[in-house]
C-alpha cells in the first residue's frame, strides 16, 4: 500500500528518476568514504522515492547501516540484510558503519521527512511536515509539497504544509502569491519567520526596496512589528523563568547553610563540601544501580535523595561532635577549623574518587525540555529543581515549626542560656541542628549533580553564592533565604543579556554591597535577644 502511494507520488513528480537503478546507484554512494558523496547519496535515495528508500534512511539514522566491502548492508539484530533488496547476507569481514557527519545528518532529516510525508501514520506525517517547514524548503520540493497539501486530510499537517508552501511562495514572481504568503506567515506569527520576512522590507545597495510591490512590503512590515513585540515579551518572560530556575539552584545550595550559619551562627566554610558529598552520594547510588539494577536505572535519583541526606547528616554530626562543639562562640577559630575540614574533605574525595570529575547521568525523564513560549524552552531538569526546591523549603519549615526539635532549635537560637535553664539539652540540639542542616545541604548536592559537574571542587563554586544568599536574606530567617535566592537569581538573569555574564555578576555583587551597607541585617531582621547577643 505504502509502496503504491509512493509510486503514485513519484510518477507524478519525477517520472524520469523512477528507474530502479537510480536507487541502486545512490545506495552505492553510501559505501563511499567521502562524506560529500554520502550526502548526495542520501539526497538521491530520497528523491528516488522508492518504498525501500525509507528503510535504508531509517537504518542510516539509527546507525544500523553498514558497509561490507562494496555492499551496503543493514544490521538486523545479529542478522544482516542487503540494503538493496532485503535478502539475507553473511558479511565477509566485520562491516564498517556508513560514515556520517553533521552535513549528512542535516541532509537526512528532510530526506526522511519527504518520504514520510506520504506515510499512513498521522503522527509521522505531522512530524514530517513540521520538519520540512522548519528549514526553507528547496524549490524542487515545492511540487511534492503541493501534491501532499492537496491530498492531506489532517488539519495540523495541512497547516504545516501551508506554511512550507508560503515559504516557497515568498520567492515567487507573482506578487499576489507573495502577498498571500506574507499573510499566511503573519497569521501563524512564529518569531522564526522574522528572518524570512526581513529581506522584504530591506533596501538594496542603490536604495531601492528589494520588494517591488508596496502592498506586500506594508504587509510584511506589519507582521514584522508584531513579531518584534512578541519576541521582546517572550524574552522577558524567558529571562524571569531562567531567573527563577537559577534562584532555585541558589536556594538549594544555600538552604543547608541557612540552618548551620543562619540559625546556629556557625561560619561553616565546609558547607560547600557537604554539597559535594551529597553530589558524590548520588554518583555512588547511580553506580550501584548501573551495576545491580540497570533495568530501573532512572529510579536511582529517588534512592539517592535519602542516601545523600543521611550520609551528609552523619558527616555533619561527626564534624559537630568532634570539632565544632569545642569552638562555639569563637567565630574566628570556627572559620579556620571548618576551612581546614573543607580542605580535608576535598582531599579525601580526591583520594577516593580521583581528581577527575565523575559522570552523573541524569535520568532520561529529566532530559529534554518544554517549549513554554516560542524561544523559551524550560528544561525538565530545571523545572524539577524549582519544584524540588519548594519541597525542601517545606520540609525544613515543617521541621522548624511543627516538631519538638524545631521548637527547641528556635528556643536555643533565640536565647541559649534561657533554653538551657528550661531543661533543653543545648548540646544535643546543636548536634541535631547541624545534622539536619548538613542533610539538607546533601539534598542540594543531589540537585546540583543533575545540572553541573561533580568533582572534588564542586563546593568551592557554591560557597560564596550560598553565603551571599543567607546574608542578603537576613541571618536566621528561612523566608529571607528564599527571597534572597530568588531575588539574586532573577536580578542576575535580567542583567545577563544586557551586560554579559561577567559584568552581570560584578554588578550583582556591587548591588549586594550597597544593600548590606544600607541594611546590614539583611532583608528580614531577626528580632530578639540573639540580635544583641
Amino acid at each position: 500500500m505504502l509502496a503504491r502511494w509512493l509510486l503514485v507520488v513519484v510518477a507524478l513528480v519525477v517520472p524520469a528518476v523512477a528507474q530502479a537503478d537510480a536507487f541502486t546507484d545512490a545506495l552505492g554512494k553510501l559505501a563511499s568514504e567521502d562524506l560529500d558523496t554520502v550526502r548526495s547519496g542520501v539526497q538521491e535515495i530520497a528523491s528516488s522515492g522508492e518504498a525501500r528508500a525509507l528503510g535504508v534512511l531509517h537504518a542510516l539514522r539509527d546507525g544500523k547501516l553498514k558497509v561490507d566491502g562494496e555492499t551496503v548492508v543493514v544490521e538486523d539484530g545479529s542478522k544482516w540484510k542487503r540494503a538493496s533488496d532485503g535478502s539475507a547476507i553473511t558479511p565477509a569481514a566485520k562491516p564498517r558503519k556508513v560514515v556520517a557527519n553533521n552535513a549528512v545528518r542535516r541532509a537526512m532529516a528532510p530526506a526522511i521527512a519527504r518520504l514520510e510525508l506520504t506515510s499512513k501514520d498521522v503522527g509521522l506525517r505531522r512530524a514530517a511536515a513540521e520538519e520540512l517547514r522548519r528549514g526553507t524548503p528547496p524549490e524542487e520540493l515545492a511540487p511534492v509539497l503541493r501534491e501532499a497539501y492537496k491530498t492531506e486530510k489532517d488539519p495540523q499537517t495541512k497547516a504545516s504544509l501551508e506554511l512550507a508552501l508560503a515559504d516557497v511562495d515568498l520567492a515567487s514572481a507573482d506578487s499576489a502569491k507573495r502577498f498571500e504568503a506574507v499573510r499566511i506567515l503573519g497569521d501563524r506569527g512564529d518569531i522564526s519567520f522574522k528572518s524570512k520576512l526581513e529581506p522584504l522590507v530591506e533596501r538594496d545597495a542603490d536604495g531601492n526596496y528589494r520588494e517591488k510591490d508596496a502592498k506586500v512590503r506594508e504587509a510584511a512590515a506589519d507582521v514584522l512589528s508584531s513579531l518584534r513585540w512578541k519576541e521582546l515579551t517572550n524574552r522577558i518572560v524567558g529571562d524571569v523563568m531562567y531567573g527563577l530556575s537559577l534562584g532555585s539552584v541558589l536556594l538549594l545550595a544555600a538552604l543547608g547553610l541557612a540552618i548551620t550559619f543562619g540559625l546556629m551562627g556557625v561560619i561553616n566554610m565546609a558547607h560547600g563540601e557537604i554539597l559535594m558529598i551529597g553530589a558524590y552520594s548520588s554518583y555512588v547510588v547511580q553506580l550501584l544501580f548501573q551495576q545491580y539494577l540497570p533495568s530501573s536505572f532512572d529510579m536511582y535519583i529517588f534512592v539517592a535523595l535519602p542516601v545523600a541526606f543521611v550520609v551528609c547528616a552523619l558527616v555533619g554530626i561527626l564534624i559537630e561532635r568532634t570539632i565544632l562543639r569545642f569552638l562555639y562562640g569563637r567565630p574566628l577559630e570556627t572559620l579556620l577549623a571548618t576551612w581546614g575540614v573543607s580542605l580535608a574533605l576535598i582531599q579525601t574525595v580526591r583520594l577516593l574518587f580521583g581528581a577527575q570529575n565523575v559522570a552523573v547521568t541524569a535520568p532520561s525523564f529529566l532530559s529534554g525540555g518544554w517549549e513554554m513560549l516560542e524561544g523559551v524552552v524550560l528544561p525538565y531538569n530545571r523545572m524539577v529543581i524549582v519544584f524540588f526546591g519548594a519541597l525542601v523549603v517545606a520540609f525544613v519549615w515543617v521541621i522548624l515549626t511543627r516538631t519538638r526539635l524545631g521548637l527547641e532549635v528556635r528556643a536555643v537560637t533565640q536565647n541559649r542560656n534561657m533554653a538551657a535553664c528550661m531543661g533543653i539539652s543545648t548540646a544535643r540540639v546543636d548536634m541535631w541542628t547541624f545534622g539536619i542542616g548538613s542533610g539538607v545541604a546533601g539534598l542540594g548536592g543531589v540537585a546540583l549533580s543533575q545540572i553541573g559537574n561533580v568533582g572534588p571542587e564542586l563546593g568551592q563554586n557554591y560557597i560564596v553564592d550560598s553565603f551571599m544568599v543567607v546574608v542578603l536574606g537576613g541571618v536566621g530567617k528561612l523566608a529571607g533565604t528564599v527571597i534572597g535566592a530568588f531575588g539574586l537569581g532573577i536580578i542576575n538573569k535580567l542583567l545577563e543579556p544586557v551586560s554579559g555574564a561577567v559584568l552581570g555578576k560584578i554588578i550583582v555583587l556591587g548591588l549586594i554591597i550597597l544593600f548590606i551597607q544600607k541594611r546590614p541585617q539583611g532583608i528580614f531582621a531577626l528580632k530578639g535577644r540573639a540580635v544583641e547577643g
Binding site: 539552584v249 581528581a355 570529575n357 532530559s367 517549549e371 531538569n381 568533582g455 538573569k493 555574564a501 561577567v502
Partner: protein
C-alpha cells in the same frame, strides 16, 4: 606546607619511577641491575649536576587544584616517555631522572617551582604548564636562568621565546582551520558565528584573531556574537536561548573556548533546549578525550572539536602509542585504570620529550645552549603518523590538524584532516599589529618579537 608537599611528591615520583623501572627490563630481557643502579640516585637528592649521574628533567604540572583534572595525565605520560627512553638505554649512557613538582594550580607558585627546578635541581629541561597564565608566569624565570621549557598545550600564539619550545598548536594550527571547516559546504556552510569563551587570556586572544579572520572572509560585524562567562559558570540558559535566537535565518556555528569545567552545563543546556549539532554545531578547542572521560557524553554527540591528535586516529603509530599508554597505566596502577585515554596535549608531551632526547644525543651534551641549537633539526614520527618537525625559526612544531565529531563513548570520529603538517604562525597575520612581527631565532633575526633583524650586515 607547600615545600613539604613538594618533597612528598618528589619522594612519591622517585618511588614510582623506581618501581616501574624495575619491571620493564624484565619484560624486555635486559639486565635488571643497570636499571636499578641508574634509578637509585633518585631517592638521594643530589643537588649538583655532574656528567656521570642521571640527567635530571623537571615535570611542572599541577597535581592538585582546579587544573589537576587536565594536568595529571601529562605528568603520567611524561613519566612513561622517560621510562621508555631509559629502557632503550637512556641518553649519552646516562639515565633520565624526572623531578616532579606540584605547582598546585597556583600561578605564582609555578614561577617559584620553576626557579627551584632550575637552581636547586639543575634540570636539563622542563616539561610543563597548561594554562597560558601559568606559562606567562614562568617565562621570565626560564629566560633569566636560561632554562628550557617544553609547553605541550594549544594556546593563543602571539609569543615566541628563546627558552621555550611550543609543542601544542598555535591558532593557525587549530582555530583557523576549524573555522574554515565550519564555513565550508561540508562543515555546514556557516554564515554566522558565536564566539563563546571563558573570560581569560586564551579565549580573549583567540577570539580577537578569529574576529579579524572572519572579517577578512567577509563576515559582517552583525553576524558575529562574542560572549564571555566567568570561570566555573554553570548556568547557560540565557546564553543558549540567545544562541538559538541568533541562529535563526542563517546557518550558524558556535566556536567555544569555554574552559573545561563549564562545558558540561553548556552542552547539557544545548541538548535540553533542543539545539542539535546538525542545526548549530559547536566546535570546541578545549574539549578532548580527557575532558569527556569524566562526563556523560550523550548531550555532546555530533559536536566538534579541533585538535592535532585524537585517540581514535587509525595509524599503526597511534595504535602502538595507545597500547603503550594502556600498559603503562596498568603497570603503574594509575587511578582511572582502563578508562584512561590519550589526548592531544599528551601526544605533544610525548613528542616534546622525544625531540629533546634526540637533540641531546645530537648535541652530545645536555647543555641548554647546545640542545637548543640542535632541536630545530629534529623530526619525530608522531602517533598521528607524520614526521613531526620542530621549527628552528619560531620554536613551534609543524602539526597536522584534525576535526573530530564527538561520539557517545567520549571518543571522536574524524571528519576532516589536513593532508600534511602545517607550520605554526607564532604571530597571527590577521591582527594588524602582530602581522608585522617576526619570530625567527636563526641568523640574522635571532628574535621572537621583532620587526627587523637583530644583526644587520
Amino acid at each position: 606546607m607547600n615545600r613539604s608537599l613538594g618533597a612528598v611528591m618528589l619522594a612519591l615520583s622517585c618511588a614510582a619511577s623506581f618501581g616501574v623501572g624495575c619491571s620493564k627490563p624484565a619484560e624486555k630481557g635486559e639486565p635488571e641491575k643497570t636499571e636499578k643502579a641508574a634509578d637509585a640516585p633518585a631517592t638521594t637528592a643530589e643537588p649538583k649536576a655532574d656528567a656521570t649521574g642521571p640527567i635530571k628533567v623537571g615535570i611542572l604540572h599541577s597535581l592538585s587544584g582546579t587544573m589537576a583534572i587536565s594536568e595529571t595525565s601529562l605528568k603520567d605520560v611524561a613519566l612513561m616517555t622517560i621510562e621508555e627512553i631509559n629502557a632503550a638505554g637512556g641518553l649519552l649512557g646516562r639515565k633520565i631522572e624526572p623531578v616532579v613538582v606540584d605547582p598546585a594550580s597556583d600561578w605564582p607558585l609555578f614561577a617559584e617551582k620553576a626557579k627551584e627546578l632550575l637552581t636547586r635541581d639543575k634540570v636539563a629541561a622542563t616539561f610543563g604548564c597548561w594554562t597560558s597564565v601559568s606559562r606567562k608566569s614562568v617565562l621570565p624565570v626560564f629566560e633569566e636562568l636560561n632554562g628550557l621549557l617544553f609547553y605541550p598545550v594549544q594556546y593563543e600564539g602571539e609569543e615566541s621565546s628563546w627558552n621555550v619550545f611550543y609543542t601544542g598548536a598555535a591558532p593557525n594550527q587549530q582555530a583557523i582551520p576549524a573555522v574554515e571547516y565550519l564555513m565550508s559546504k561540508e562543515g555546514g556552510g556557516a554564515k554566522r558565528f558565536v564566539l563563546l569563551g571563558t573570560d581569560y587570556v586564551y579565549p580573549r586572544t583567540t577570539n580577537k584573531i578569529l574576529q579579524y579572520f572572519l572579517k577578512s572572509k567577509g563576515v559582517a560585524e552583525a553576524d558575529i556574537l562574542e560572549k564571555y562567562t566567568p570561570f566555573g559558570h554553570s548556568d547557560y540558559q540565557t546564553i543558549v536561548a540567545e544562541i538559538k535566537r541568533f541562529s535563526q535565518g542563517k546557518p550558524t556555528a558556535v566556536i567555544s573556548t569555554i574552559n573545561g569545567d563549564s562545558n558540561v552545563p553548556f552542552y547539557k543546556e544545548l541538548a535540553n533546549q533542543g539545539l542539535k549539532a546538525e542545526d548549530v554545531p559547536v566546535v570546541a578547542f578545549s574539549v578532548g578525550e580527557e575532558e569527556l572521560r569524566g562526563i556523560d557524553a550523550t548531550p555532546l554527540v555530533g559536536h566538534l572539536a579541533a585538535w592535532n591528535y585524537f585517540q581514535s586516529l587509525d595509524t599503526p603509530e597511534n595504535k602502538a602509542f595507545v597500547e603503550k599508554w594502556k600498559a603503562y597505566v596498568k603497570k603503574a596502577n594509575l587511578p582511572g585504570g582502563d578508562k584512561r585515554v590519550t589526548n592531544d596535549p599528551m601526544e605533544a608531551t610525548y613528542i616534546g620529550i622525544h625531540q629533546w632526547a634526540q637533540a641531546v644525543k645530537q648535541a652530545g651534551s645536555t647543555d641548554v645552549d647546545a640542545v637548543r641549537q640542535a632541536i630545530g633539526y629534529q623530526t619525530f614520527r608522531s602517533p598521528s603518523g607524520f614526521d613531526i618537525k620542530m621549527d628552528a625559526k619560531n620554536h613551534h612544531l609543524h602539526k597536522p590538524v584534525y576535526i573530530g565529531e564527538i561520539k557517545a563513548d567520549g571518543q571522536f570520529d574524524i571528519v576532516w584532516k589536513t593532508s600534511e603538517p602545517i607550520r605554526a604562525q607564532a604571530w597571527s597575520p590577521y591582527i594588524p599589529d602582530s602581522a608585522k612581527k617576526v619570530a625567527d631565532w636563526t641568523y640574522p633575526w635571532a628574535c621572537g618579537n621583532c620587526t627587523a633583524p637583530k644583526y644587520v650586515n
